[in-house]
Structures are given as structure tokens and as C-alpha cells.
């Protein structure tokens, strides 16, 4: 079932056309990898979906319904959660407080921003969540995020998105700067997220990771989507050549011939 459909999105910054007619469909329970060189328009595309700025032209459909996304809050309310490696968590706050940031459980809600946090509920929900995602053994809900490793932070951010029943989870370079083992942990987690029924849009530079977790691959170049293939139907070299625009397999043949 279709969860998110982008139709002919266009966005310009001054004279730079960052997005030209980008269309993309994301189905339920699939991991789609969004690939492309620097400046290909990947981050413009995800910023448009996550409400950082509006598009100039084009439509966004969530579960078949046309929506307008004007703010990050709009995106979240529609079930679209975006996770950037460095911008998703506040390091000086505890895990529990981070998990509920912006959606804090409070008592006396009529007090608005002055309402007291329901700390017991906060901690309980946080521990339950940590247990559900399988990282309860090691992590304390009261621990500060600054004491966690990069991989643990990614897992926390992803599980937060899962917890709020996000339909679409956008992961922006989730494995950057992570060690080998941590990277595998995060990739395994991405698979679990998919198996739980969420759809994942994975933005990454690392093609190897894509082949480990993605169902489909979408390649962008100069603001356009230039290829869309299922992982089963393609291979690393083909994808690499599409990204760079050069025919790598031909080059390779040439090199072998010499």
C-alpha cells in the first residue's frame, strides 16, 4: 500500500534549481534508499518532505490524500519523522526527556508550557520503549544522551520515531562516523523498523549499506530522479555508474582488457 507519494516537486533557490520535477512513491513496510552525489538534491527533497521549507510546485500525498506540509510540526502530525545524525537529539538531556521532547507527558495540562512533566510516566514509557527496541539491557532512561555512543544515539532517535507510530521514517546519513559494529547495529535496527510496518527513506553515501537493507533504490542527479530500481534487479556497479553519470562497467571492462 502506498504511504507517501511525491509528485513533480520543484524547488529553486534563486537561480539554482535544486529540485526539478522529482516524483517518488514509498510503500508500506519498505526501505527505499535515496542515493546521489553531493548537490544532487537529496537533502532538498527530504527537507521539503519534513517541513523545513515549502516546495515551489508539486504535490505531496500521504496515504492517497493530498497534504500541505508547512512546518516540521505538520510533517510530524502526518506521521513523517526525519532523523539527522547530529540534529536529532539534545545531548544534555536524559534519554527519557529526549524521547518525549516536544510531546512531553504532563499533568495539569491547562498550565500550558508551565505544566509539570509527569516524570513517573515519562520514565516508565521510556524504559518500556527501550525494552521494546531491545536496548534496555545497557541503557538507563535517566542517562544523559551525551554519554551514549553514536550508534546508541541513532537507535534512540529511530526508536523515538517508531514510538510515535510514524508512517514514514526518513534517515539522513544514519551510519556516518559510526564504527563497523555500530553501523551493523543500526542497519539491523532499520530492518526491524521495516518489519514492524514502518516505511523508511534512507539517505546515504554508502552503497554497500544500501544493498544490505534497502528494497528499492532511487538515484538523484542534478535535482532529478534519474533511476529507480529494486535491489534484486541491480548491482553495485550499475548503481554507482548511475550516480556519477559515468558508465563504470564500461570503464572496468576497458581496464580489464588492458
Amino acid at each position: 500500500m502506498e504511504v507517501l507519494r511525491l509528485q513533480n516537486l520543484q524547488k529553486s533557490f534563486g537561480s539554482v534549481r535544486a529540485l526539478k520535477n522529482a516524483s517518488l512513491t514509498l510503500r508500506e513496510g519498505e526501505v527505499v534508499a535515496l542515493l546521489g552525489d553531493n548537490g544532487a538534491g537529496k537533502s532538498t527533497l527530504i527537507k521539503a518532505i519534513s517541513g523545513v521549507f515549502p516546495v515551489d510546485r508539486g504535490d505531496i500525498f500521504v496515504r492517497g490524500e493530498k497534504v500541505s506540509i508547512r512546518s516540521t510540526r505538520d510533517a510530524m502530525d502526518l506521521g513523517i519523522e526525519t532523523i539527522h545524525q547530529d540534529t536529532s537529539l539534545a545531548p544534555d538531556l536524559s534519554i527519557a526527556r529526549n524521547l518525549f521532547l516536544g510531546r512531553e507527558p504532563v499533568s495539569f495540562g491547562w498550565l500550558g508550557v508551565f505544566a509539570p512533566l509527569d516524570l513517573a510516566k515519562l520514565r516508565k514509557a521510556a524504559s518500556e520503549l527501550l525494552k521494546r527496541v531491545g536496548i534496555s539491557k545497557k541503557l538507563d532512561a535517566d542517562a544523559l544522551v551525551s554519554t551514549l555512543s553514536g550508534g546508541e544515539r541513532q537507535s534512540i532517535a529511530i526508536s523515538r520515531a517508531m514510538q510515535f507510530a510514524a508512517k514514514v521514517i526518513i534517515l539522513d546519513e544514519p551510519t556516518n562516523n559510526l564504527g563497523v559494529e555500530e553501523t551493523h547495529g543500526v542497519l539491523r535496527f532499520v530492518k526491524e523498523v521495516r518489519d514492524a510496518g514502518h516505511s523508511v527513506l534512507l539517505i546515504t553515501h554508502n552503497i554497500h549499506h544500501v544493498f544490505q537493507v534497502a528494497d528499492r533504490i532511487v538515484v538523484m542527479r542534478r535535482g532529478e530522479i534519474v533511476a529507480e530500481q529494486t535491489v534484486a534487479d541491480t548491482d553495485l556497479l550499475t548503481v554507482e555508474s548511475i550516480i556519477t553519470g559515468a558508465d563504470m562497467s564500461a570503464l572496468l571492462k576497458e581496464a580489464r582488457a588492458k
Partner: protein, 326 residues
Amino acid sequence: MPVGKRRSSLIRSPQFSSFIILVVLLAVFAVADANFLSPLNISNMMAFLPELGIIALGMTLLLTAGEFDLSVGAVFGLAPVVVMLLVQNGGVDIGVALMAGLVLCIAIGAINGLIVTKIGISSFLVTLSMLLVVRGAALYITQGFPLKSWDQPGFFVTLLAGSFNIGSFRFYTSLWWFIGLSLFAIYILRYAKLGNWISAIGSNRNAAVARGVPADAVKIWLFIATSVLAGLAGMISAFRISAASPVAGTGYELEVIAMVVVGGTALTGGRGTILGTIVGALMLRAIRNGIVLVGVPGLAYNIFVGLIILAMLILHALLQKNAARS
């Protein structure tokens, strides 16, 4: 969290180390001069404490959100000058004049906040400029002279600067204001939804915004709160000494920031502690008072104050490093 772990994290917390140093300082001063703990001297310290302490509460919240305000000392001076001018020269009722002063402080804070958040200029530059504007305004409208002394008891004077005796100690109502506002600030920062937002904004603004936290609005309101607290402190001071001066509060901005960071709040945002700020306010007050009593020459005060602040900051940095390593 096991008890042992909790205890060690308490001991490592910055406000705790500040507290220990405060106790040591008080002990040293008490031993060096018997008058330090005399009712008169304690009464004196408690009279001054709230005036800077109240501003420090606002500054702590603002610093925790990652911004700071250099215009507080100037607002401390301008607010009472404007109120007193309205009362003395304009024949305005004191209640109305105080209202005007409040509106003025709100406006100054709002301008600071709007420029910082909407135009994106660092709060250092914005509030430094505001310091000059506000101080300049105070000097200009008074032509540089202190106002005539104004000594008419009334509801507002009692409310802000009334005094009462407990035994041989003389306390001002400003102490109640400081205690009440401190409790409120502790509640906000540690237990309220707003506090979660403030810490998150200072810790990682983008993360907070991505979660739908209205970071700009929170910062603007914190600038307003800080300005209003500075004006309130200025009024308390002016009522206490029955006079308003255009140069009152000169240099207070740095003294207040010193109180806050000595208490353990991070200058870079994200980590704030009101308890630490109270300790910091007590510490700077005690230092200023104590080194006079122990006979440090007047002109050498600031050498000691500066050195003690530096020592505190070095200690915090070392503790922080230690905590990060373990």
C-alpha cells in the same frame, strides 16, 4: 539508578563543588574576622544579595537556552530612573509609573529577543548595543545627575523594599522575592515542560526545532523575563536607598554572568542549574563582603574576585573532563 551512583553524580555535579567552595569561603572569612557572621553583616549581605540574585535567575534560564544578555545592568539603571522621573516630574501615580517601567522592560527584552532570533545576530552583539542604548538613555534623560531622593512610604515601596526584623537580623522583603522567584525558576527548569524546552534549545537547537519546540518564541520570552527581572531588581534597589541614579548597575551584567557560571551553568547552553546560581550569588556576595572585612585594600578587590572566579571555572572544567573520561 543505584544509590551509590546517584551520590557520586551528585558530588560530581558542578553546583555541589560550588557549594563546597562556598562553605569553605564562609568558614575562612568567619575565622579571619569575627564580624563576618555578625547580625549586622549578615543583614547587609542579605540586603544586597537579592538585587543581583534576581537578575541571575533570569540570566541562568537565558544561558541555558544558549543566549545571554549584557544589557541587564543598564536596564537595572534605566527602569527606576524612568519610574522616578514620571513620579517626581510628571506627577504620575507610582502604580502607573511602575506599570510604565514594566512595559519599558518588556519592550527592551522583546527587541533583544526579536533581533537575536529573527535576524540571527549573536546575543553578545545585540545586547552589547542595547547596553549602550539603554545606559545612554538613562544618562540623557537625567542629564547625568542622580534624581532627588524620593522617600514616600506606600504599598509598592513596602512590597519591594520593606524591611522587617527577626531577632537582631534585619531583612528586606526583597529576600522573599528572591526566594519565591528562585523556587519558581527551579520548578521551571527542572520540572516544567518549558524547562525541558529551554535545556533542549541550548543543548541542540536544531533538534528542539525538529521536534516542534518553538525555539524562537521561548528565547524571546526569556529575554523579556530577564529584562523584567533586571528592572524589578533596579526598582528594589532604588526603593531601598530611596534614590535612582542613571549609573546604577554599571558592570552588573558581568557580575551576574560570573555568578551564573561559577554556579555551574554552562556558558555554551544546555546545562543550567538554579541551585548553582543561588550558590554563585551567595559566593560572589560573600567574597565582596569578606575580603573587605579581612582587610584587602579597596582597590585590590577585583583582583581577588577575578582570581576566585577563575579558580572556580578551572575547577568546573576539570570536573567536567573527569566526568567525560569516566
